[in-house]
Assembly symmetry: C2
Homo-oligomer: 96 residues x 2
Amino acid sequence: MLVLVTYDVATSEPGGTRRLQKVARQCQNFGQRVQYSVFECDIDPGEWAQLKHNLIEIIDEETDSLRFYYLGSNWKRRVEHVGAKPAMDLDGPLVF
Amino acid sequence: MLVLVTYDVATSEPGGTRRLQKVARQCQNFGQRVQYSVFECDIDPGEWAQLKHNLIEIIDEETDSLRFYYLGSNWKRRVEHVGAKPAMDLDGPLVF
C-alpha cells in the first residue's frame, strides 16, 4: 500500500531543525522523497505501524504536523508530476 | 473530487519567491492550505482544469515541481492528521 507522508516542522522552534532531519531520515528508511517535505512510502502494514510510531515520537505535536494520505495499492494512476525532479519509478526498468 | 496539490518552488532561483506566493494564492482560491506547501482542493473538473493550467503557467519547470494526488470523492477516510493546525473541516458544523 502507498502512504503519502507530508510534514511541517517548526524549525524556528528549539530543536526544530533536528526534528526535521530525524523525520526525513525515518521516511527515507521506508520510502522515497518526492518533494522537500513529501515522501511516498510503498510499505506493508507492519512497516507502516513502525514508521508512524517513530514519526509521532519525533515531532512536537504543539508546533509540528504530520499528514498521512492512504492511497491504497492502485496508486500510480492517482499521481501526476509536473516540473523538476520527477520521483524515481522504483518498479520501472533499470536503464544504464 | 479532492485533488491534493503539493509543490516545491526554488526560492533560491531568480523570481522564486514571487512564484511561490503566486502558486499559494492560486491554490487558496480553490482549496484549503493544510501545510506550508500542501493544499487540499475539493473541486469540480472544470475548476480543476483551470487551477492546474494556472499552476503550470506559474512555475519554472526546470527548477520547481508540482505533484497532484487525485483522492476521489470518498477521500476523508484516506487522510490522517497528527500535531499542530489540523485542517478546518469545511463540511463540519460551524461552532461559535
